[in-house]
């Protein structure tokens, strides 16, 4: 099972196991990683599962589709490595994945 690491705003790092076929957001929520709200339950409709993907992993996770891009665009603190974690499927290739969790979701 791929291992995923979330670095929270306070600097604490949380290593969790991802489940192939589910999303990075699910892995964070299932393991109670703080700072991810996921109000819409993973449907790309709330943008409260925002993470900053570690540069080294950007290629592996691909780019946001149009719907995700529109939702990310609502956030004044969007960065080039911003992603909605519910839109990143966990695969074996993501073993070692790292992302930073913002201070607040909005």
């Amino acid at each position: 099972m791929p291992r995923l690491t979330f670095i929270c705003h306070d600097g604490a790092s949380h290593e969790v196991q991802g489940e192939v076929g589910r999303s990075v957001m699910n892995a964070a929520i299932d393991n109670l990683v703080p700072g991810i709200d996921a109000d819409c339950g993973g449907e790309c409709a709330c943008a409260t599962c925002h993470v900053y993907v570690d540069e080294a992993w950007l290629d592996k996770v691909g780019t946001p589709d149009e719907a995700e891009d529109a939702m990310l665009d609502l956030n004044p603190e969007r960065a080039p490595n911003s992603r909605l974690s519910c839109q990143i499927p966990v695969t074996d290739a993501l073993d070692g994945f790292r992302a930073r969790v913002p201070e607040f979701q909005m």
Partner: protein
């Protein structure tokens, strides 16, 4: 307007539209018939008279069960579709390419007196840049800075309340709290802050709601609002230190040349968006805790539950009962066809009581696991921009309340708002019990 279909002419087709339907009012309520005794196609939930008397719930229950997509041919707002199940509301809200927010987002037709451009009623591509221009004011960084100020002011409001006397919670707490928050966001002259409340009420109040005497009176008040904000804007040009919304807009290269109407539209949107909604959530918490006293006991025993209670209050109340969309093409749903141009109402107030998603949906349960999934903030690109400020205010008021009081007891008749859009309370006579 790229996303607006060619066939649709806002000014021609809609502004000031009156429909051949009796105009009821607060003093002349629409007669009530139990919805289960009516032919299905006569159901007309978009009636302020129903909401005023808190009699809308059975209409929505029947619609969810028997006609999840329902057409009302005649109403005071003209013909409209009702969408009442959680899943369908969410799906339509997310599909902004098919369901347009232009020209208006409530079931009522705009009366055309002072049409203000607001991004809540715009489609892509206009919507995004405008929202981004103002959203930093409620963004994470500003919120962290705001929290101690809001906490201090909330504490002062609560400390000023008369323990043991009967007073109106709506006026003394809900309105006072939200007005002060807006005044803070705008750095609005504090002594004039009641004007903000007034302008909010005037903007949303229909001619029948009793807020204004006439349409003309309403127009004049909105002009006063425009002039007041124009003065503030002028004064703050060059004030690059200011962290308030007006200074931010007046000095940001992207927004400093914004046409005056657009500026005012954005301000009014924040005033209205931030005012009634948070106000009615603050009032609703009192109503809910009184109706479900065992939840109040749980809260007193564990103030750590405040966070989830806030989400549950916003679900249980649904401070805005609906949003409206317009179909940009024909759409098939539940075996019926929504035609291009048709008005579609997403009933949030019903989606939040859908038992497919929320167990015992009419119960107020501060430990509800999925309270955050409520549809009260909408979903998709128009999802409430101020949701975190709203939640923060509720959380702070209740945290501070629990430090000071044991109970807030409703001791008289609750009066509701006469509106099928703003879902809330006008009068809430309460008495406080000291700890």
């Amino acid at each position: 307007m790229a996303a607006v279909s060619e066939k649709f002419d806002y000014d021609q087709d809609y502004i000031g539209a009156e429909f051949d339907y009796p105009r009821y009012s607060k003093d002349n309520l629409e007669p009530y018939v139990d919805p289960y005794e009516l032919p299905l196609d006569e159901l007309n939930p978009a009636s302020p008279s129903l909401f005023f008397r808190n009699l809308h719930w059975r209409h929505f229950k029947r619609l969810r069960e028997e006609a999840p997509l329902h057409y009302t041919a005649q109403s005071m707002h003209g013909p409209y579709w009702s969408v009442t199940r959680y899943r369908d509301v969410k799906a339509i809200d997310m599909d902004h390419k098919t369901f347009s927010s232009y020209p208006a987002i409530t079931v009522a037709e705009p009366d055309g007196d002072l049409p203000l451009p607001m991004f809540i009623a715009m489609d892509q591509p206009q919507h995004g840049p405008q929202r981004r221009a103002v959203s930093p004011v409620v963004g994470p960084r500003n919120l962290a800075a705001l929290e101690p100020i809001i906490r201090e002011r909330a504490g002062a409001i609560l400390d000023g309340l008369p323990v043991g006397e009967t007073f109106n919670w709506v006026d003394k707490v809900s309105i006072e709290q939200t007005t002060q928050m807006l005044a803070t966001l705008f750095d609005f002259p504090f002594e004039d802050r009641y004007k903000l409340t007034r302008w909010s009420d005037v903007t949303t109040g229909s001619p029948e709601s009793g807020v204004v005497e006439s349409r003309e009176a309403r127009r004049l008040e909105l002009i006063e609002c425009r002039e007041y904000f124009d003065r503030l804007w002028q004064q703050r040009i060059g004030n690059t230190e200011g962290n308030d919304l007006i200074s931010l807009l007046a000095n940001d290269p992207v927004t400093q040349d914004m046409p005056p109407d657009q500026f005012l539209g954005n301000l009014v949107l924040l005033i209205v968006g931030g005012n009634d909604t948070t106000r009615n959530s603050l009032s609703a918490s009192v109503v809910a805790l009184n109706q479900f006293p065992q939840q109040f006991d749980k809260l007193r025993a564990n103030s750590g539950l405040v966070g989830n209670m806030v989400s549950e209050v916003i679900r249980w109340q649904t401070p805005l009962s609906h949003m409206r969309r317009r179909a940009l093409r024909d759409v098939e749903m539940h075996g019926k066809t929504i035609r291009e141009g048709d008005k579609v109402i997403m009933w949030y107030v019903s989606g939040n009581r859908d038992s497919e998603v929320f167990e015992n949906p009419d119960d107020f349960d501060i430990e509800r696991g999925n309270a955050r999934s409520h549809v009260s903030f909408g979903f998709g690109i128009h999802r409430c921009m101020g949701n975190r400020v709203g939640e923060m205010q509720l959380r702070i008021v209740w945290e501070e309340f629990l430090k000071r009081f044991r109970n807030v007891e409703i001791v008289g008749d609750v009066e509701r708002v006469y509106s099928d859009f703003v879902h809330g309370y006008k009068t809430l006579p309460v008495r406080l019990h000291a700890r």
